[in-house]
């Protein structure tokens, strides 16, 4: 199923694809063939379709349309583990930033936190209903989840629920959560388009960003915790002050819905995945832009025909991308 170590990866000058852009190179690190019938492109509306890429770019986990959770090592593409649904398919997945923990939230609301090294369940607890979003704090101490009815913060070592947060209404939609790097704040993108920032341990509301008109689908804090990056249906990245909730900056708008973003370790760049609005045969499904936060310039662009990008992460001076089409998954690095 796996083809490892493509010794002579195809290097493509992105300037060929986008002449006005840059001399970035992308390299295909490996590719993975999934079983027949398994599709990489997310079927619209499928809540139990979830992928997660660890922030350190070492692991990728996915639950496609076969109700099996697969975990791969990156960039080799070596398959490490599969989990069968056993009648309770996974709805949401989340790898911790260091790749040591994998949280799997089943459709029933049961959450299991696996230790990736030993493949043992470290914690197991139950949310009140299906989980829409999951995140783990950088120190692997807290886990936050969003259900159809509330958001909850759990202390992992004790399996104790620390806080229950209530958005203004139940939106039954995919949401996004993010802890600040020190684990003190939890940001939540809510259905009423507001971003709420809570004290992660007590659930006390610290600030609300209410200037955004459309729903946000991706959140990430800057490494110093002083900025919150937000993107979504408004096709842009907004920079918010988490202490006041005020909108501080906004990057140029693109033509696709922003589905994922991650800030670089130095806080100077953001990689963002945009889903393009039209999908014709062999057309691009998503585009990844690497933004310079200081100048608002695009440093690099990744876009290939038919490819849906599922995750991006900064690693050792390059950007790692996981995506694919049909039943083939590919891992690229971009210098």
């Amino acid at each position: 199923m796996i083809r490892l170590g493509r010794a002579a990866p195809v290097a493509i000058l992105l300037s060929v694809l986008s002449p006005a852009l840059f001399a970035q190179t992308i390299r295909q690190e490996s590719s993975i063939s999934l079983p027949a019938g398994v599709s990489v492109a997310p079927p619209p509306g499928r809540v139990n379709f979830s992928t997660t890429l660890s922030r350190n770019a070492e692991f990728f986990a996915a639950n496609f349309n076969d109700n099996v959770v697969h975990v791969w090592a990156l960039p080799s593409g070596e398959m490490l583990r599969t989990f069968d649904a056993n009648g309770d398919p996974a709805a949401r997945l989340r790898l911790s930033n260091d790749g040591r923990l994998l949280a799997i939230a089943a459709k029933s609301g049961t959450i299991k936190v696996w230790d990736v090294a030993s493949w043992r369940v470290q914690q197991e607890f139950a949310a009140s209903s299906a989980v829409r979003a999951l995140t783990i704090s950088s120190d692997n101490y807290l886990l936050a989840l969003a259900t159809d009815f509330d958001e909850q913060v759990w202390e992992l070592p004790t399996e104790k629920r620390l806080a229950v947060l209530h958005a203004p209404f139940d939106c039954y939609c995919l949401m996004s959560l993010a802890f600040s790097p020190d684990g003190a704040m939890l940001a939540s993108a809510d259905g009423d388009t507001a971003i709420r920032i809570y004290n992660a341990r007590t659930g006390t509301l610290r600030s609300t960003a209410s200037e955004l008109l459309l729903e946000s689908l991706a959140l990430d804090f800057s490494p110093d915790g002083k900025s919150l990056f937000v993107g979504g249906a408004d096709n842009t990245i907004s920079v918010i002050d988490p202490l006041t909730g005020k909108l501080r900056d906004m990057l140029p708008k693109q033509s696709g819905t922003l589905r994922g973003l991650v800030a670089s370790d130095d806080g100077k760049q953001i990689a963002a995945i945009y889903n393009l609005p039209k999908r014709f045969d062999n057309a691009s499904i998503s585009v990844v832009l690497l933004w310079d936060l200081g100048t608002h310039a695009v440093h690099a662009r990744f876009e290939q025909p038919g490819i849906a990008v599922l995750g991006v992460a900064f690693a050792h001076g390059h950007l790692l991308l996981v995506g694919g089409s049909g039943n083939k998954l590919s891992i690229w690095s971009m210098q």
Binding site: P43, D170, C173, K278
Partner: protein
Amino acid sequence: MPHIQAAKLGGSNSTSELTVDHADPLPAKENMLTRRAILHKCLALGSLSVASSFKAEAMFTAFQVREKQPRKPTPPNSLGPFYKRLAPTTGTLRAPGDPGLPLSLSGQVLDTRGDVLPDATIEIWHTDHFGYYDIEGYRYRGKLPVGASGQYKVETIIPGHYPDSSQMCQHIHYLVTAPGHKTLVTQLYFATDPAFEGDPEKNFNRDPTIHTPELIRPVLLTGEPEAIHAAVRFELCLERL
């Protein structure tokens, strides 16, 4: 309103054991008839007949009790991801010359006891005929208060299918709020959608976002073939907080 002391109806051969305080058969206010008075009037004018061994009063009480039985709240459905805050207050979303089949959308907002919610507000949004949401402006987005009768009416078009998916059926998003009631987020689907092949009860889950056929509404076509017009009625039932 009559005060029901005990409500127990016997079998068809037994006498009624229903005891009712008939203290208010008369209109409570001038020009305002009680439900019971309306039923009396219907009976007198022939618009209502009672074919039962029970007396009309007993049947009227049973009628009222049944009317007040809890209603099932409208099932929820996903909000997004293209909800946009601050939609204009209007029920006219269709502009002259807009592509797509004109649609009159109507209904009433009630609570689970069947009481009208006159303070409710409905927010509606959907794609254009080609399946695209307007995220720059507010085309096919509107908010409207329902008024004393709880009724709403929206003039729009039947939205298109999403251009990138054959799985997602045509739909209209609703966000319904009323003081003292749980906010309802749901979607209306059309029984005419090709995905259902004419049988929404059987085929509703061909769209993975539809969990119940209750949200799929029949479509009434009116007008001349050159000026065909669709109408859909969608009642909205909210739960109390």
